[in-house]
C-alpha cells in the first residue's frame, strides 16, 4: 500500500555518525494509515526532503518527529536514545517551524524574535536579534507590529528564529510558503550554512529548493 523511495548518498565524512534514526515508523490518522514501516537515518551535514502529494502525510511525519503525535508503531532515536526518554534534552537540540508562524500580531518583529527565542530556551540580546532580522530582509520593519506586515514578511519573522538558535536539527514544514524569489534564495543559503556547520535539516516543500554543494536526499511518501 505504501512505497518509499529514498534517494541520495551520505556526503559527509561522518557518514556513520547517525544522529537521528527512524526505524519502522507507522502513522495512523483516524481510520487512515498514512505510512508504515518507514526507516531512515540522518547524520551531521545531511539534508532530507520529504516529498509527497497533498495529504500524503508529510506534516504528520514531521510532527511525529517532534513528539506532537505518538507514532502508531516504530521508534525515533536521537544520538542512540529514544526521544521520549530524552524529552527536553532532545528539544534543546532541535527547532521546528510549522505551517503556523508562531508570532504575535501585537508585538513587533524584534519583540517576537526575542521572546520566542527566550521560550525556546536561549536569551538573545537586542543586537543579535536585529542582525538576524536584517539578514532576513526586514530592515526598517523591525519596529512595526507584525500585524501590519505582509504575509511574506511575517514568514520571514518566523524564519529568523533559525538564525538565533543553535539547534542542530532543523525540521521545516514548507518554509518557503509566501516567500518571494529572493527570500527562497536566502533560505537555500541559510540551510547550506547550517549543514556546513554540521547541522541537519528535514524539510518539505512543493517548490524547488536546491542547496549548493549538498546532495538533497529524498523521501517519497505516497
Amino acid at each position: 500500500m505504501q512505497s518509499y523511495i529514498i534517494r541520495g548518498y551520505f556526503i559527509t565524512s561522518r557518514q556513520f555518525n547517525f544522529m537521528l534514526e527512524i526505524s519502522n515508523l507507522a502513522c495512523v490518522r483516524g481510520d487512515h494509515q498514512l505510512f508504515s514501516g518507514l526507516s531512515f537515518s540522518l547524520g551531521a551535514g545531511e539534508l532530507l526532503q520529504v516529498q509527497g502529494e497533498n495529504g500524503s502525510g508529510k506534516t504528520s511525519l514531521l510532527r511525529t518527529l517532534c513528539g506532537f503525535m505518538q507514532p502508531a508503531a516504530g521508534e525515533i532515536h536521537w544520538c542512540g536514545r529514544d526521544v521520549h526518554e530524552l524529552g527536553e534534552e532532545y528539544y534543546a537540540e532541535m527547532i521546528y517551524l510549522g505551517h503556523l508562524n508562531a508570532i504575535k500580531d501585537e508585538l513587533n518583529a524584534l519583540e517576537n524574535l526575542r521572546i520566542s527565542a527566550g521560550l525556546a530556551g536561549c536569551a538573545v540580546d537586542e543586537k543579535e536579534a536585529l542582525a538576524a532580522l536584517r539578514r532576513m530582509g526586514l530592515r526598517r520593519r523591525e519596529h512595526l507590529p507584525v500585524k501590519v506586515l505582509s504575509q511574506g514578511q511575517r514568514r520571514r519573522v518566523a524564519l529568523s528564529r533559525l538564525l538565533v538558535g543553535n539547534a542542530r536539527l532543523w525540521i521545516l514544514d514548507e518554509p518557503l510558503t509566501a516567500l518571494d524569489v529572493g527570500a527562497v534564495g536566502l533560505m537555500q543559503e541559510l540551510i547550506g550554512e547550517h549543514l556546513s556547520k554540521g547541522g541537519m535539516a528535514i524539510f518539505t516543500t512543493h517548490q524547488p529548493l536546491q542547496v549548493a554543494g549538498v546532495e538533497t536526499r529524498q523521501l517519497m511518501l505516497s
Binding site: 506532537f68 521546528y96 508562524n101 504575535k104 508585538l107 525556546a120 530556551g121 536569551a123
Partner: protein, 227 residues
C-alpha cells in the same frame, strides 16, 4: 546566547503576557472600570435598600471576580494555540509546568489583582464595614488565584475540544463554587461577629493544593489537546 534558568523562564512568560496585554495602556483601566460596572449593576437590579445591599456585597464582588476570570480565560491559551505559539511552547526544552504557571500568574495579575485593589471602593459603595472590607481583600487575595488556576485547567482541556469539552465546563465551574462559598462565608462571619479564620484557612489550603497540582494538570491537558 545563554540558557535561561527556570526563574528566568517564569519571568519571561509573565513579562510576555503582560506585554501583550499592555500593548494598550487602556487595558488595565478597562478591567478596573469593568469591575465597578458589574458591581453597580446589582443595585440597579435588586433595588437600592442599603441593608440588603450590605448583605449582598461580598457575593456581588465574588461574582464579579468569577466573571472577570471567565471572560479572559477563553483567551488564556486559545490565542497561542491559533497562532502556533503553543506548539513552540510544548517544544521548549524547559518544564512546561513552569511555563503554564507563568501564564497563570500573568492571568491573575490582569484579571484578579485589579479586583483586589478596587474591592475596598466597591465595598464602600455597598456600605460595608471597615472590618468586613479588610477580610474581603484578604480572601480575594487568596481566592482569585485559585479561580485562575482552576480556570486554566478548563481552558487547556477545552482547547480544540479533545477530551470532551462539555464535561469540562461542568467540572471546572462547579469546582469554583467552594471558593465562592468560603470567600463570601468569611465576610459574612465577620459581619455576624463570628471568626473568619476557618474560612480563610480552608481557602489557604485550597490555594496551596491548586498551586501544587494545577500547573502540572494544565500542562498535561495541553499535551492532550495538542495531539
Amino acid at each position: 546566547m545563554n540558557r535561561l534558568s527556570l526563574f528566568g523562564l517564569l519571568g519571561l512568560v509573565i513579562r510576555r503576557d503582560l506585554l501583550l496585554a499592555m500593548r494598550r495602556r487602556a487595558d488595565v483601566l478597562t478591567t478596573l472600570v469593568f469591575f465597578v460596572m458589574v458591581v453597580s449593576l446589582f443595585p440597579l437590579g435588586v433595588g437600592p435598600e442599603p441593608e440588603m445591599l450590605r448583605k449582598m456585597a461580598a457575593g456581588v464582588v465574588w461574582v464579579a471576580a468569577l466573571l472577570a476570570s471567565m471572560l479572559s480565560l477563553a483567551r488564556m491559551f486559545s490565542a497561542d494555540y491559533l497562532d502556533g505559539t503553543l506548539e513552540q511552547m510544548l517544544l521548549a526544552p524547559q518544564s512546561l509546568s513552569v511555563l503554564v504557571l507563568g501564564k497563570i500568574v500573568a492571568h491573575w495579575m490582569l484579571s484578579g489583582l485589579p479586583l483586589v485593589l478596587i474591592a475596598p471602593v466597591l465595598g464602600l459603595q455597598f456600605g460595608m464595614s471597615f472590618q468586613g472590607l479588610w477580610v474581603l481583600v484578604l480572601v480575594l487575595l487568596l481566592g482569585t488565584p485559585i479561580l485562575s488556576m482552576i480556570g486554566a485547567i478548563g481552558a487547556a482541556l477545552t482547547l480544540g475540544l479533545r477530551g470532551g469539552g462539555v464535561l469540562v465546563s461542568l467540572l471546572v465551574l462547579p469546582l469554583c463554587i467552594p471558593v465562592l462559598i468560603f470567600g463570601t462565608g468569611a465576610v459574612d462571619a465577620v459581619n455576624t461577629g463570628m471568626t473568619f479564620i476557618p474560612h480563610v484557612a480552608l481557602l489557604g489550603a485550597m490555594f496551596l493544593l491548586s498551586l501544587v497540582f494545577a500547573p502540572w494538570v494544565t500542562a498535561q491537558a495541553l499535551r492532550i489537546s495538542m495531539e
